[in-house]
Amino acid sequence: MTTVTTEVTTDREISYREAINEAIHQEMTSDDSVFVAGIDLAKQGDVFGITQGVLTKFGPKRIMDTPISENAITGLAIGAATQGLRPVISLMFIDFIGVCFDQIINQMAKMKYMFGGKARLPLTVLVNAGAGTGMAAQHSQSLEALLCHIPGLKVVMPSTAYDAKGLMVTSMREDNPVFMIMHKRCSRLRGPVPEESYTVPLGSAAVVREGTDATIVATAYMVHEALAAAETLAGEGISVEVVDPRSLQPLDTETVLESVRKTHRVLTVHEAVEFGGIGGEINAQIAEHAFDHLDAPPMRIGAPFSPVPYSPVLEKEWVVNSDQIIEQTRRLVSG
């Protein structure tokens, strides 16, 4: 995959959430085999607002409210996909993958392979990740690493409205199960989004800011924290390149390595708990494949090894922020 630095030429600004909503509307218009199912998706338009207007526009056949039965919802998507439909389901919070994890890792992910290729599973699973909203330990996690370790799944995690729409369209057109991980704090962020449909390929990272002294690889909301950090650091004469993988499975390692080969220093940042997070995978790959280009140890920032605390003071301390990124980047470039 080659580097795609997003250049958007439109004056139209909508939010990340609206962008995904628009993708769903457009794909449902062009393809009758798409249907949407999940808790409070139809009448209520989803508790995160992702399916607003779908019921009115497409009617109850195309979008259904389900019982609180995530195993049945997930199986619904799998079984229907084997029969040629293109289901989009929501599991609300990514924390809830736990209640239907067998259907995800042992059924959805493996069916095609176990059947010797004779199944196509064009389905998209919507989940919301992220802390910082006072929702405590069971509604605030970033569990993408669990999904990325399972062959058969694809995992995208956009940070901007533009990517959210483009990746949602691509996901819905994929003939494989894709987890679309939305970050709660990205949800209201606005950005330029063309009205017409477009795709952002899976497995293609974006260089969202160019720089020469260090690379920051950041995902989801951390992209914005990294960009803020880069801005501050620029004032100190440190030129930071920010790379957003956008899709984690497949992962566009090449774009990351290219950046590291240029800057010779790297800091990987995600909101998930650091231990066992996707940053370990990324940095291990960098260390193995760009070792000779590194002028300093590859560094990581992730959340400390604890459940997400409720108290605002602790939660603020738990969530990775731009100050930490600034501090670590300073260490990185001086190291």
């Binding site: 808790i39 609180i68 209640v99 006072g134 509604h139 604890s306 459940p307």
Partner: protein
């Protein structure tokens, strides 16, 4: 309805229900004012269920609660000061500020925690029931579940498990007829959820969940059955939440007539009526109780607001023993 309760007990139940109501009114207000960081799911309207059931429980009995857990906690003896401090994320709170509304617990009082996962509680209740049986404590494990949660697989596994081993458990369904924004009839095709007891060969009953005396009586039988080694009971309580799914938020999709009809069946008014009829309470003393409770809640708010936030160093404590 006849009852074995003396006036002291009845007044205690009334006061507890008022406490839940006032607590929820306060929590709702504070959430609206963004003084509470997270989501609060208010129990107002359902007070008779928690109080009627918990009126049979000792500190050695346990309860597993739900996301809508404040009422259970208060009914089981929870301290409103510590609860409010927890809602504010303060270190004096029940969970030192680490849990919040959806995770308030007090193991000393047998409160195994609210739970942010729908269907998360029943398996844990099974474990507590098993421990009581294993240790021969005579304790009973009560599991509160919403109507919506009875469609989670965990609920089913738990009932089957408890039934098989004759565990001292009572499974209470708080059927408030909605799960988030979706009505019960769009979540399953039976209307009386206690019919599910047949799937496990245990007794199942449905009672008026707005009438605390009806709940008290049915729960009494269920708890006695559990305590005497006769296994679990499924007890469905027909009830209603007075506010929207979280807090007192806008956009309640429930029909206005439905809401009004249930408001007519306020469990506090119903109990008050009985108490007045039996001359246990006058309108005046009911007001006095309410005022006392309001003062108590005000004090709790003050306590909670003045309580310190946790130290940042506490971020990494309490993960492992």
């Amino acid at each position: 309805m006849t009852t074995d309760l003396d006036s002291e007990q009845l007044l205690y139940m009334f006061r507890t229900m008022v406490t839940i109501r006032e607590f929820e009114e306060a929590a709702g207000r504070m959430a609206e004012q963004a003084r509470i960081p997270g989501a609060v799911h208010l129990y107002a309207g359902e007070e008779a269920v928690a109080v009627g059931v918990c009126s049979h429980l000792e500190a050695t009995d346990t309860i597993a609660s739900t996301h809508r857990g404040h009422g259970h906690c208060i009914a089981k003896g929870g301290d409103v000061k510590l609860m409010l401090a927890e809602l504010l994320g303060k270190s004096s709170g029940y969970c030192r500020g680490k849990g919040g509304s959806m995770h308030i617990a007090d193991l000393d009082l047998g409160i195994l925690g609210a739970n942010g996962i729908v269907g998360g509680g029943p398996p844990i209740a099974v474990g507590a029931a098993f421990a009581a049986q294993y240790q021969g404590t005579g304790g009973v494990s009560v599991c509160f579940s919403g109507d919506g949660s009875t469609n989670e697989g965990t609920w089913h596994e738990s009932l089957n498990f408890a039934a098989l081993f004759d565990l001292p458990a009572v499974f209470v369904i708080e059927n408030n007829h909605w799960g988030e924004f979706t009505p019960q009839e769009k979540q399953g095709s039976i209307t009386q959820l206690s019919d599910r007891a047949a799937a496990y060969g245990i007794p199942g009953f449905t009672v008026d969940g707005q009438d605390v005396l009806a709940v008290h009586q049915a729960a009494g039988e269920a708890v006695a059955r559990a305590r005497t080694g006769n296994g679990p009971t499924l007890l469905e309580c027909d009830t209603y939440r007075f506010y929207n799914h979280t807090g007192r938020s806008e956009g309640d999709p429930r029909p206005e007539e439905e809401r009004a009809a249930w408001r007519e069946r306020d469990p506090l008014t119903i109990l008050c009526g009985v108490l007045e009829e039996r001359a246990i309470l006058s309108g005046e003393s009911a007001d006095r109780i309410t005022e006392e409770v309001q003062r108590e809640i005000e004090e709790a708010i003050t306590f909670a607001e003045e309580a310190p936030y946790p130290e940042l160093s506490e971020l990494l404590t309490d993960i492992y023993s």
